[in-house]
C-alpha cells in the first residue's frame, strides 16, 4: 500500500470515529426533544416512531401554562444569577489577595482550600438545613442563594487566583507609582484584563447552581418556591407522568446551561485546565 492510500484510510477512519462519537453525544438530547414535540399517541407505540407527522408544542404550552413552569424557571434564573454574580465578586477579591500578596501561611491556606473544595453539597445539606431552619431561611429563595454562594466560593477563589497569576503585575505597579490607589488599580487595570477569567468563574457557578438538586429539594417545599430541578424531581414522583411533558421540562432545564457553555466554552476550558497544563 502506498503512503497516500494509507493516509487516506486513516483519515477516513478518523472522520468516521469522530462522526460516531458526535452522534453518540447528541442522540439522547435529540431523542428527548423529538419526544417532547410528539402527540401522546405517537409516544407510546412499539416499534417506535422515529418522527411524528404532527409535531406540536402542546407539551411546552402545558408546561408553562398549566404546570406553572414559568414560575420555576424564573425562580431558578433568579437564584442562579444572583448567587453566581456574588460568588464571582467574592472570588475576585480573595483571588486577588491570594495571587498578589505574599503572606505567612499562604501555602497551608491553599491546601485548606483544595480540601474544602472536595466536600460536596449534599453532605452539607443536613446541618445547613438545621442552621437555616433556626434562622427561618428554609423554603426561601434567599436562603438558597446564600447556600449556593457558599457552594461555589472555594472553587471560584482557586480559579480566580489562577487567572490573576497569569496577568503580569507590571501594569499595576506602574499605575500605583502614578498615584492610583489600590482599589482603583484593581478595578481600572486588573479587572479589564481578567474579564475572560471572570466569565469562566461566572459560567462555572452558573452551571453548578442551575443544576443543583438535592439541597434545593430539601429546603424548598412550597410549589411557588421550586427551582427547575426540584420541579422535575416532583414530576417523577407523581404517578402517570406524560413523557412529552417531562421531555419538554428536561429541554427547558438543559437549554440555559447549554447556551452558557456554547458562549463561554473557551473560558470554561481554560478554567478547567489551568491546573493541568504546565506553562
Amino acid at each position: 500500500m502506498s503512503v497516500r492510500v494509507k493516509k487516506a484510510i486513516s483519515k477516513t477512519l478518523k472522520g468516521l470515529a469522530l462522526g460516531l462519537y458526535l452522534a453518540f453525544a447528541l442522540a439522547p438530547i435529540l431523542w428527548i426533544f423529538i419526544t417532547s414535540i410528539k402527540p401522546p399517541e405517537d409516544i407510546y407505540t412499539f416499534p417506535i416512531k422515529y418522527w411524528t407527522q404532527k409535531p406540536s408544542f402542546e407539551a411546552y404550552r402545558y408546561l408553562f401554562g398549566f404546570a406553572n413552569f414559568s414560575r420555576y424557571f424564573r425562580n431558578s434564573l433568579f437564584v442562579t444569577f444572583f448567587a453566581s454574580i456574588v460568588s464571582t465578586f467574592f472570588a475576585l477579591f480573595s483571588g486577588y489577595a491570594l495571587s498578589r500578596f505574599p503572606f505567612k501561611g499562604k501555602g497551608i491556606l491553599m491546601i485548606f482550600l483544595f480540601f474544602t473544595q472536595m466536600i460536596p453539597a449534599y453532605l452539607l445539606m443536613i446541618p445547613q438545613f438545621q442552621m437555616f431552619s433556626s434562622l427561618k431561611l428554609t423554603n426561601n429563595l434567599f436562603g438558597i442563594i446564600i447556600i449556593y454562594i457558599g457552594l461555589g466560593a472555594t472553587f471560584s477563589t482557586i480559579m480566580a487566583k489562577g487567572f490573576f497569576d497569569r496577568i503580569p503585575v507590571s501594569m499595576e505597579e506602574a499605575a500605583l507609582i502614578d498615584g492610583c490607589n489600590r482599589v482603583g488599580v484593581l478595578f481600572r487595570i486588573t479587572v479589564p484584563l481578567l474579564l475572560p477569567g471572570l466569565a469562566a468563574i461566572f459560567s462555572f457557578s452558573f452551571v453548578n447552581n442551575w443544576n443543583e438538586l438535592f439541597t434545593a429539594a430539601l429546603f424548598l417545599d412550597s410549589d411557588s418556591k421550586m427551582t427547575v430541578p426540584v420541579a422535575l424531581y416532583s414530576f417523577i414522583s407523581k404517578a402517570g407522568i406524560q413523557w412529552n411533558v417531562l421531555g419538554a421540562g428536561i429541554i427547558v432545564a438543559l437549554v440555559p446551561t447549554m447556551i452558557v457553555f456554547f458562549f463561554a466554552q473557551k473560558y470554561i476550558v481554560a478554567g478547567l485546565t489551568q491546573g493541568a497544563v504546565k506553562e
Binding site: T45, S94, A97, P229, L232, T273, A276, V277
Partner: protein
C-alpha cells in the same frame, strides 16, 4: 497533589515580579493587613459559615439521635448510628455497588476520553464547533441526563430496546431496570457518557503541551505510532491523568444525580451506592438526619483513606520511572 502542583505551575512565570516592592510594602504595615483582611472577609466568612461549620456540625450530628420527629430531645447516642448503618445487612452490597460504579465509570470515561482527545488533537475543519458539540454534556444537569436515559432505556417504549430488536440482538424488549445487573450496567453507561468530556478536555489540554520535537526524535529512533504513544505521549500526560482520575473518583463517588433519576437505587438496592443511600435516608427513611450524617462521615473517611493511598501509590510509580 493538585494543591502544590497548581501553585507551582501558576506561580512560575511571574514569581519574580509577584514579590516586588509595591505589593510588599504598604506605607504602614497595619494598612496592608486591613486591606488583605477586607479582600478575604467575604469569601472566608462564607466558607466558614457554610462549609466548615456544617462539616463539624454534621460530624457531631452523626453521634446524636436527630430526626425530623425528634427535634427537642436530642442527645448523644455514641456509635449507634454507625452500628445501624454497618449492621443493616445491605452495607456490604452498597459498598460493592459503590466500587463497581466508580471503577467502571472512571475507567471507561478515561479510556474513551483519551480516545476522543487523541482524535481531536490535530486541527481539522470545524474543530471549534465540533468541540462545542461533544463537550457540552459537561454543563448539563446530571439529574436531567438521568431522566433522558431512563426514557431511552425504557422497557416498553425505549429506543434502545427498539434498536436492539431491529438489529436482531433480542426478540422482545428488555426490562433494564428490573434486572439488578442490567440496571447497574445502564446507570454506569450513562455516567460514562456524561464523564467523557471532562477527561477529553483535560487530556486534550495536556496533549497540546507536548513539544513537537520529542516526537521527531522518537521517529528518528525508529518508533512507530504505537511505540511513540507509550514512550512519549503517555509519560507526558501521566501527571494530568493521575490528577484527573483522582478528581473524578471523588466526584463520581459524590454523584448520586444520575442514579437517583434512573433507579433511585433499585431494583432491590442493586444500584444503591453510598451517596444514594444517604439521600434516600434524608428524604424517605423518616428523615433520620443523624443516620444520614453517619453515612456522610463514612463517605468522607473513605475518600480520605483513598486519596492518601492513591498518592502513595502514584508517587512510588513516578520514582521508578
Amino acid at each position: 497533589m493538585p494543591a502544590s502542583k497548581n501553585e507551582k505551575g501558576a506561580k512560575a512565570p511571574f514569581s519574580s515580579s509577584l514579590e516586588t516592592r509595591p505589593f510588599r510594602s504598604f506605607k504602614k504595615k497595619s494598612r496592608r493587613f486591613f486591606f488583605l483582611l477586607a479582600l478575604f472577609i467575604p469569601t472566608f466568612s462564607v466558607i466558614g459559615f457554610l462549609t466548615i461549620y456544617p462539616t463539624v456540625r454534621g460530624f457531631i450530628l452523626s453521634f446524636q439521635n436527630y430526626t425530623v420527629f425528634n427535634i427537642r430531645r436530642i442527645r448523644f447516642i455514641g456509635l449507634q448510628n454507625y452500628e445501624k448503618v454497618i449492621n443493616s445487612g445491605d452495607f456490604g452490597l452498597i459498598l460493592w455497588n459503590t466500587f463497581l460504579w466508580i471503577f467502571f465509570s472512571v475507567l471507561f470515561q478515561m479510556l474513551l476520553g483519551l480516545g476522543l482527545a487523541l482524535l481531536m488533537r490535530k486541527p481539522f475543519k470545524g474543530r471549534g464547533i465540533y468541540t462545542g458539540f461533544v463537550f457540552y454534556p459537561w454543563a448539563l444537569s446530571g439529574f436531567a441526563i438521568g431522566l433522558i436515559w431512563r426514557w431511552l432505556f425504557d422497557g416498553s417504549f425505549g429506543i434502545i430496546n427498539d434498536i436492539l430488536i431491529r438489529l436482531g440482538f433480542i426478540e422482545t424488549g428488555i426490562g433494564f431496570f428490573s434486572d439488578p445487573t442490567l440496571a447497574m450496567l445502564a446507570v454506569i453507561i450513562v455516567n460514562i457518557w456524561y464523564g467523557i468530556p471532562f477527561f477529553a478536555i483535560m487530556i486534550l489540554a495536556a496533549l497540546q503541551g507536548i513539544p513537537k520535537d520529542v516526537y521527531e526524535s522518537a521517529w528518528m529512533d525508529g518508533a512507530n505510532p504505537i511505540n511513540s504513544f507509550f514512550k512519549v505521549t503517555l509519560p507526558y500526560i501521566r501527571p494530568v491523568l493521575v490528577n484527573t482520575i483522582l478528581l473524578r473518583v471523588i466526584w463520581v463517588m459524590n454523584f448520586p444525580d444520575i442514579i437517583y433519576a434512573m433507579t433511585r437505587g433499585g431494583p432491590a438496592k442493586a444500584t444503591e451506592i453510598l451517596s444514594v443511600y444517604m439521600i434516600n435516608i434524608v428524604f424517605y427513611e423518616n428523615n433520620n438526619f443523624s443516620k444520614a450524617s453517619a453515612v456522610g462521615v463514612i463517605i468522607i473517611s473513605l475518600l480520605m483513606v483513598f486519596t492518601t493511598f492513591y498518592y502513595l501509590i502514584s508517587n512510588t510509580k513516578k520514582m521508578e520511572m
